[in-house]
């Protein structure tokens, strides 16, 4: 089911939660809505679900204008961050709920419902836990029950709000892979909200980045990572340092040093250069485009090692170093900027 959102706006009391948002999700696609808190990503998801009414704009499910279709009839599967499982029902009752509340004419026979519950329990790998209550499950198991419950009604679109937000790091990783597998298995059109860029890039077919209620960029993980459309996307996806630069003689200058990064063609002023930690090289003293600095600290992160370098201007710069590097704090180093991203001033 294609989902299309057309010039959507919504305000709460005094703040605008969504501002003229357009978005289209292709059938079978796994789309991530990524942004910091307050960016409107959850509101957008709730509007698509029919839990919130937009002030302006339309929501289309395929060709159908679903803007005023009540949530009960919209056919969405919604998974809440804290799962919202019914605590007084067993796991099996939770999963079967959406089928049992149907009117008699649309309700499958009881035996079909039972079979469906069994299949879903198998799909989410909880075969033996159907008789348990949600209070007796771990966080990751609850998450899977919530997903099975949403899938039980065969929704036109699956919507997940921060699906891994309440889980610890290890469980998150496992569930992430598992959700990807489920998606490949079911081919269900899925939109999920996250503030975690790794999660969005690893899991999604395409990512939409939101900021203050507006869409900054939509693209594949590759596109938003390699070719960010705005400074916000640049700094939100991956670590970035922003250096104040000036344009002179067709080159970029920082603190009196002419950089080897090419200035954009034409007569445009650039004042900021965005640099990734892996776009830096350590060079020998005396190179004309090298920036001198002192290593302030060496940090170990999950992916590798980083040096925080204090340039002679006082600016801090993050640089990736090899794991066998002999660099120490207080060492004096010289850095060349290999690549950088510039945005035209607006």
């Amino acid at each position: 089911m294609d989902i299309r959102v057309d010039h959507l706006s919504k305000g709460f009391a005094d703040t605008a939660a969504l501002k003229d948002v357009c978005l289209s999700v292709r059938s079978g696609e796994l789309m991530a809505l990524l942004g910091p808190s307050g960016s409107g990503k959850t509101t957008l998801l709730r509007v698509i679900a029919g839990l919130e009414m937009p002030d302006e704009g339309r929501v289309f499910f395929g060709e159908e204008d679903a803007t005023h279709v009540p949530v009960q009839k919209r056919g969405v599967g919604f998974v809440f961050q804290h799962y919202a499982l019914f605590r007084h029902m067993t796991v099996a009752q939770n999963i079967g709920y959406g089928l049992r509340v149907r009117t008699r004419s649309k309700r499958p026979p009881s035996s079909d419902i039972e079979a469906r519950i069994r299949n879903l329990l198998a799909l989410v790998q909880l075969e033996d836990l159907g008789a348990r209550y949600p209070g007796q499950l771990s966080g990751g198991q609850r998450q899977r029950v919530a997903l099975a419950r949403a899938l039980a009604v065969e929704p036109r679109v699956l919507l997940l709000d921060e699906p891994f937000g309440a889980l610890d790091a290890k469980v998150r990783k496992d569930l992430r892979r598992w959700l990807r597998e489920i998606h490949e298995h079911t081919g269900q059109t899925t939109i999920f909200v996250t503030h975690d860029q790794d999660e969005a890039l690893e899991l999604a077919d395409r990512v939409t980045i939101l900021k203050e209620g507006g869409v900054e960029q939509t693209g594949t993980p590759e596109e938003v990572h390699e070719d960010p459309a705005t400074p916000f996307v640049m700094s939100f996806i991956g670590d970035t340092t922003c250096l104040p630069v000036s344009t002179r003689d067709g080159a970029l200058w920082y603190d009196g040093t002419r950089l080897s990064v090419a200035a954009p063609a034409g007569d445009v002023q650039v004042t900021e250069l965005y640099v990734r930690p892996w776009d830096l090289a350590f060079v020998k003293e005396g190179e004309p485009d090298a920036l001198a600095g002192t290593v302030a600290a060496i940090r170990r992160s999950a992916g590798g090692r980083r040096a925080s370098v204090r340039l002679s201007s006082g600016q801090m710069l993050e640089a990736e170093i090899s794991t066998d590097s002999l660099l120490n704090a207080q060492d004096i180093v010289f850095l060349r900027i290999l690549r950088g991203k510039v945005f035209r001033d607006t």
Partner: protein, 286 residues
Amino acid sequence: MSVRGKSQTRSRFRRPSAIPGFPLAFGYTLTYLGLIVLIPLGALVLRASSLGMMGLSGVISDERVLSALRISFGLSFAAALLNAIFGLVVAWVLVRYDFPGRKLVHAAVDLPFALPTAVAGIALAALYAPNGWIGQPLAAWGIKAAYTPLGIFIALVFVGLPFAVRTVEPLIVEIDREIEEVSATLGATRAQTLWRVVLPPLTPAILTGFALAFARAVGEYGSVIFIAGNIPYVSEIAPILIVIRLEEFNYAGATGIAVVMLAISFATLLVINLIQSWSRRRFGYV
């Protein structure tokens, strides 16, 4: 060995703590509780046991006593039932809906807690007397409220209402809206959501409110005696019969009725505790 032995025997009763003052606070609590509550109640039980089983059953099997107990428990049950239903509706309205004067109404629910029972009693009697504001129109329809069981029922609804409202209200406040939203996304109508998702977790609180309102109604005296008329076999409740027996210096008679009522109080307390521990096991909250 004396030091270690001592701390070990003590820790079986109390987990060691860095905070001082336990012996004083705990000792004072037990002493005061014993002097004010436990010993006096013990005196009642002692007095009752001195009557013997025969004496006790003699007191209770008295026709007038049986009738008073029936009236007390029957009307208290009915009043608690009405309170449980209306208490739920009132609590829901107060938590979920906005209307002018909501805060005032919210405060007014506690009025029966704060208003002395004698004041409530004479006010209800004045209202429901045949020439009262409500008694008059009722009389026109041929309904007599004052000096009948109906009058007692009205007074018992008055005293029990806040218990019913205040026990369910905090739980309605705490209902996770996402539970209702997820039910809607799964296709449930609003009525289905209320019946199948919202109501079941509230049931323990509704039952607790019912039990509290019932316990209060059974023992109620001040607000009832003025409107009841206290006609034996018709509108005489058990507490007033205790007072009458005392005025007759029939201590055995008073004690017998009191022990039955005390037993019911204990049973109600036990039921409330069972409901709450069941609810805690089942839902993880009270």
